[in-house]
Each structure stands twice: as structure tokens, then as C-alpha cells.
């Protein structure tokens, strides 16, 4: 069939490897499919070009200029590496925002994943109402990223908020946590941890994939619960842990909404919630230093790429894939 449809010259290209007729032959009718492929792909390609690629290149160019939105683009002044120099050597608030972001991610992500895994283990063993619990735990992940919930959160940790009422119940005197530079970021961490439902759902699905026989074999060998957790559950779950870790870390670096709401867009009190993306927003859209903000965006992108690469290169030491199936 492939032979009859394909004329001479094409035949030589596809024909060098003898294709088993039928399906593969039809699938390989490159020409018709090729055109259709690009027709279907055209919106995506246009988006890639106009919304992603060109803006990225423009941003790279702008990062070497002192562009503010007010001067027309053609008259923009090339400043070389001045923005990058300023970022790395002369801008303490930049480094402060890096520290804030790293602290946030390093504390909130592991705690969030630990909560997610812990609750997933509890749920995995329950035999009743799993669906209901799973849904209720997932709800905060749907609501938590909104401005509305950030508003609630800020008020909850304010002087008259619910958290202080709870402390008062135990006879502890609270304070306006969100106005305290030592505690404001912590309240945002708690908000992030509160949204443990999404990774928990993924953990639960992963736990279901662990073959029962492994636990049976382990218990035959006399392994107790803890030993089973360490020797069976953790390794079998490591691809899911890896996935959640990468995803949540990248998300953690991008926290914006809650920090914006807590500080009314300033990163306060005393820059304690100046997350990287908030700093970028202030630089670009409040101070209108769009050249400098572009440089910050590029460093952010490269940093995230490096961190992801580190995750993937260390992954092979601790992520266990069972015999490459499903890939």
C-alpha cells in the first residue's frame, strides 16, 4: 500500500527502511499530514512567536538599556551590563528580595510537602470517606491563590484576628503578626502550607500505584511499619516526590499575590515580604525602570533553569523508577 501511494522519489526516502505495510505506511504519508499538522499548530506557533519568543528577546535587549516606558523605544539608551552590575553589586534591596524568596521557598515547600505526604498516608489507610476528605483538603488549593483569601489571611493574623483569639484562649498574648517584620513572611508561609491539598492528591494517586505485594513481602521479612515506610513507600513514591518538589519549588519562587496584599504592594513591613516577583513588579511598574526589571526577569529565569537542572541531575541518585515502564 505504501508502495502504490508513494511515487518514486518519496519512495526512496521512506523506503530505505522497509516499512511493514498498512498502518505505518499510511501514517507516514508525510505530505498531507505535514500541512494539516501546521494548520492545527498555527495558533500555538503564533502564540509562541508573539507572546513568548519575541517578548523574551525584547526583554533581553531591554535588560541592556535604561528603558523606562516614557521614552520611545527607538531612542532608548544602551547601557551595556550596567543593570546587571547594579543588581549584583549596588542594590541591597535586590539581594534582600533574593533572601526573602529563598527563605520562603526553603521553609514553606518542605513543610507543605511533608504535610501533604503525612495526610496522604493517613487518608490512604482510611477506608471510609476518603473522597470527602480528599475534596475538603483540596479546597484550599483552589481558593488560596486568590486576593480574597490573602485578605482573609492578613486579617486573621492581625491584632484582632482569629489567631490571636486562639492564643488568648491559651493565655498567650499575641501581636499584629503581619505588621511585624520578623513574622510577616511566616504568615505567608503558613498560607502556602495551608494549600497542601494539591500535592496531597498527587501523593495519594502515587500511593495507590505501590504494589501490595511489596508490603506483604516486607512484612514477611519482619519489617515493621516504619521500616516499610522507609524501604518500600519512600522509594516507590520517589518519582512523585520529585515531581511535587520541582513543581512546588518553582511555584514557591513565584509567590506574589499574598505578599502584594499583605504589604499593599510595597513588600513591607520593612521589606520583609519583598518577594522576587513583587520586587520585579515594583521596579517595572511603580518605578518604571523597565530596563532594570527586564534584567531582573532574565536572572530569575536563569536561576529557575539552574535550580530545575540541579533537581534533575541529583534526581537520578534518589529517584527510583520501576523498570522504565510507562515512559
Amino acid at each position: 500500500m505504501a508502495l502504490t501511494t508513494a511515487p518514486g522519489p518519496t519512495r526512496r526516502r521512506t523506503g530505505s527502511v522497509p516499512t511493514p505495510a498498512g498502518r505505518r505506511g499510511v501514517g507516514r504519508a508525510r505530505h498531507g499530514d505535514g500541512l494539516a499538522g501546521y494548520v492545527f499548530l498555527s495558533p500555538w506557533l503564533l502564540g509562541l512567536l508573539a507572546v513568548t519568543a519575541i517578548p523574551m528577546l525584547l526583554s533581553l535587549y531591554l535588560s541592556f538599556t535604561n528603558y523606562d516606558i516614557l521614552t520611545p523605544l527607538p531612542e532608548v539608551e544602551w547601557v551595556g551590563f550596567a543593570n546587571y552590575e547594579r543588581m549584583f553589586t549596588a542594590d541591597p534591596s535586590y539581594w534582600h528580595s533574593v533572601r526573602v524568596t529563598l527563605t520562603f521557598a526553603l521553609v514553606a515547600v518542605p513543610l507543605k510537602l511533608a504535610a501533604a505526604l503525612g495526610v496522604a498516608l493517613l487518608l490512604n489507610r482510611a477506608w471510609r470517606g476518603v473522597g470527602l476528605f480528599r475534596g475538603l483538603f483540596y479546597l484550599p488549593s483552589l481558593l488560596g491563590g486568590s486576593v480574597a483569601l490573602a485578605i482573609v489571611w492578613v486579617n486573621m493574623f492581625n491584632r484582632e484576628g482569629a489567631f490571636n483569639s486562639l492564643l488568648a484562649f491559651f493565655g498567650i498574648e499575641g501581636k499584629p503578626w503581619v505588621n511585624d517584620p520578623d513574622w510577616a513572611l511566616e504568615t505567608l508561609m503558613v498560607l502556602a502550607i495551608w494549600q497542601f491539598g494539591a500535592p496531597m492528591v498527587i501523593f495519594l494517586a502515587g500511593l495507590k500505584q505501590v504494589p501490595t505485594e511489596l508490603y506483604e513481602a516486607a512484612s514477611v521479612d519482619g519489617a515493621g511499619r516504619w521500616r516499610q515506610f522507609v524501604a518500600v513507600t519512600l522509594p516507590m513514591l520517589s518519582p512523585v516526590i520529585f515531581f511535587n518538589l520541582v513543581l512546588e519549588t518553582i511555584n514557591g519562587f513565584q509567590g506574589f499575590t499574598a505578599a502584594f496584599v499583605l504589604s499593599n504592594g510595597t513588600g513591607g513591613p520593612v521589606d520583609s515580604t519583598l518577594m522576587y516577583t513583587l520586587n520585579l513588579y515594583i521596579t517595572g511598574f511603580t518605578d518604571l525602570e523597565m530596563g532594570y526589571a527586564s534584567a531582573m526577569a532574565w536572572v530569575f529565569l536563569i536561576a529557575i533553569a539552574i535550580i530545575t537542572a540541579i533537581f534533575f541531575s541529583t534526581g537520578r541518585f534518589w529517584v527510583h523508577y520501576s523498570d522504565g515502564e510507562d515512559r
Partner: protein
């Protein structure tokens, strides 16, 4: 085999997937712990609703969850707090969210079909690029996108939502493309072949095989698109500048600006209302949402 080796008296030592019914006592304890966690997790939501119904005086003095006297007036005050009715912001948000749903649904489905089913030059390269954009933080592109859209006269223009919507009609939400590709790979290839024998070309197969069978993936995409856009703040904050055009999240921040204590009740009332659509979606589609993150996230 293992069953004979395991002493029947040691049910507690079996793993999570062991006997479905572990000891009753253990289950009861587990259930209590779970209920306690649910209480902690849901407390902020109940507190939010309770506070939205408290009078100004009670917000300061009554530390309990429920108001002594229900004050629905906060909802009226919040609704009319600005020069515009808050309903305007809801309409704006609904319009942006619904158009995003349509844009994502159509454009991502087309791209996913190409990736999942069609063979064409450079497909592998484009697919890798698409996966790459999956991890690209939106914050990185916001400055140049703003500059480009502004130079085209689209920011604060005739219809200020174009900068929010154009990307959504160009399949830039790679997550949904990926989700749909994964879904389509599960549709049996034999159906394509059958249609092909009946004379269908790539467009016919899309129209009569893939499109009807992709409905579950489309529904998942629609729900997530709606919720994410409804909740989105960053892009709407950057691109919307006139009060008339504000969406709900941007309008809510106006309450923070007017820091006076008297606004807390109305602010909470409007916050509750703003979460209501998401909550309703959650109630209606809970199962689908939870399964949605599974198929997209796990299936490698």
C-alpha cells in the same frame, strides 16, 4: 503464597494496601486525627464567612466564630462601596474568565491534536519547546508583553481586555496543551484508522473522532481555566488601569487601600462573594478537578 506465610494474627503489621479493614480502634484514631485536621484547614473559611456577617463593633470585640447578631448589611455596603456597583466587577471578571475558557479550549485542542496525532516535520522539536514553556514563569514575560501590547495601543485601549485574552486564544497555556495531548494519546488509534478508511482526512478525523472523544479533557480544561482566571491577579493588575474595567481581584485591593477599620466587614463580604463561583465549581466538579491534576501531573 504470602497469605500462608503471614500469621493471621498480625493484621497490624500489614501495609497501607493490606487488608482493607484494619483494626477498628486504629481506624477510629485515624478518623479523629483527620477530622481534627479538617477543622484546622476549614477554620479560616468559616471565620471569613462569620466575620463578613459581623457588625463593626463585633469584628473588634467578638472573638468567636459566629456573630451574636447577623449583619447582612456588610454585603450591601460592600456592593455599593465604590462609585461603581461591585456587580460591574463581577461582570468584568465573568467575561474575562468565560472568554479565556473558550480561547484555551479551542486553541489548546487544536495544538494538542497536532502534537498527539499528526506527523509533520519538526514535531519533536516543537513538542520539546512546548514542554519548555510549561516551566516558564509568567512573571518573566510581563514587562516586555506590557511594552508590546502598549505599543500596539491595546493597554487601556478601546477594549482593555485584549492583552489578557490574546495569549489565551493562542494556546500559550502549555499546561492545557499537555493535558490534552496526554488525554488524546489514550484514544485508540484504530478509530483514526477506521475513519481514514472511510475517507476522512486529518480534519475529518479531528472533527468526527478526536473532538467528540476529547470532551472530558475539554471539560477539565474549561474548569481549570475558569478558576485560574477568576483568581488571577498579577496580569489583571498590570493590564487594567481604569476602575470601569477592573475585575474582582483588582477591585478587592481597593478595600485595602482605604485602610480604615470600617471597611473590614464590607471587604470580607465581597471576599466571600468573590470566592463563591470557585466554591460552586468545586462542589459541582470536585471529582473531576481532583482527577484532573492526577492525569496531567502523574502520567509520565
Amino acid at each position: 503464597m504470602t497469605a500462608t506465610a503471614t500469621p493471621a494474627t498480625a493484621p497490624a503489621a500489614t501495609g497501607p494496601r493490606g487488608p482493607r479493614r484494619a483494626s477498628g480502634g486504629g481506624q477510629a484514631v485515624r478518623l479523629l486525627i483527620l477530622i481534627a485536621i479538617v477543622a484546622v484547614v476549614l477554620y479560616p473559611l468559616f471565620w471569613m464567612i462569620g466575620t463578613s456577617l459581623k457588625s463593626q463593633e463585633e469584628i473588634v470585640n467578638n472573638i468567636g466564630l459566629l456573630p451574636n447578631e447577623f449583619t447582612p448589611g456588610n454585603y450591601v455596603d460592600g456592593w455599593t462601596n465604590f462609585d461603581l456597583s461591585f456587580g460591574r466587577f463581577f461582570l468584568n471578571s465573568a467575561m474575562v474568565s468565560l472568554l479565556t475558557v473558550i480561547g484555551n479550549g479551542v486553541s489548546c485542542l487544536l495544538a494538542a491534536y497536532a502534537f498527539a496525532r499528526l506527523r509533520f516535520r519538526l514535531r519533536g522539536v516543537w513538542f520539546a519547546v512546548m514542554i519548555g514553556t510549561l516551566l516558564l514563569p509568567g512573571h518573566v514575560l510581563i514587562v516586555p508583553q506590557y511594552i508590546l501590547f502598549r505599543s500596539l495601543g491595546l493597554v487601556g485601549g478601546e477594549w482593555p481586555y485584549l492583552p489578557l485574552l490574546i495569549p489565551q486564544f493562542l494556546a500559550t497555556e502549555a499546561f492545557f496543551v499537555f493535558l490534552m495531548v496526554q488525554f488524546m494519546r489514550g484514544i485508540p488509534k484504530e478509530l483514526d484508522e477506521a475513519a481514514k478508511i472511510d475517507g476522512a482526512n486529518a480534519f475529518g478525523i479531528f472533527r468526527y473522532v478526536i473532538l467528540p472523544l476529547s470532551r472530558p479533557a475539554l471539560v477539565t480544561t474549561a474548569i481549570f481555566s475558569f478558576i485560574w482566571t477568576w483568581n488571577d491577579f498579577f496580569r489583571q493588575l498590570v493590564f487594567l488601569s481604569d476602575l470601569d474595567d477592573y475585575t474582582v481581584p483588582v477591585a478587592l485591593t481597593l478595600f485595602i487601600d482605604s485602610t480604615s477599620q470600617s471597611a473590614v466587614g464590607p471587604m470580607f463580604a465581597m471576599s466571600v462573594l468573590s470566592l463563591l463561583p470557585v466554591f460552586l465549581f468545586f462542589v459541582a466538579f470536585q471529582r473531576m478537578l481532583v482527577e484532573g491534576i492526577n492525569t496531567s501531573g502523574l502520567k509520565g
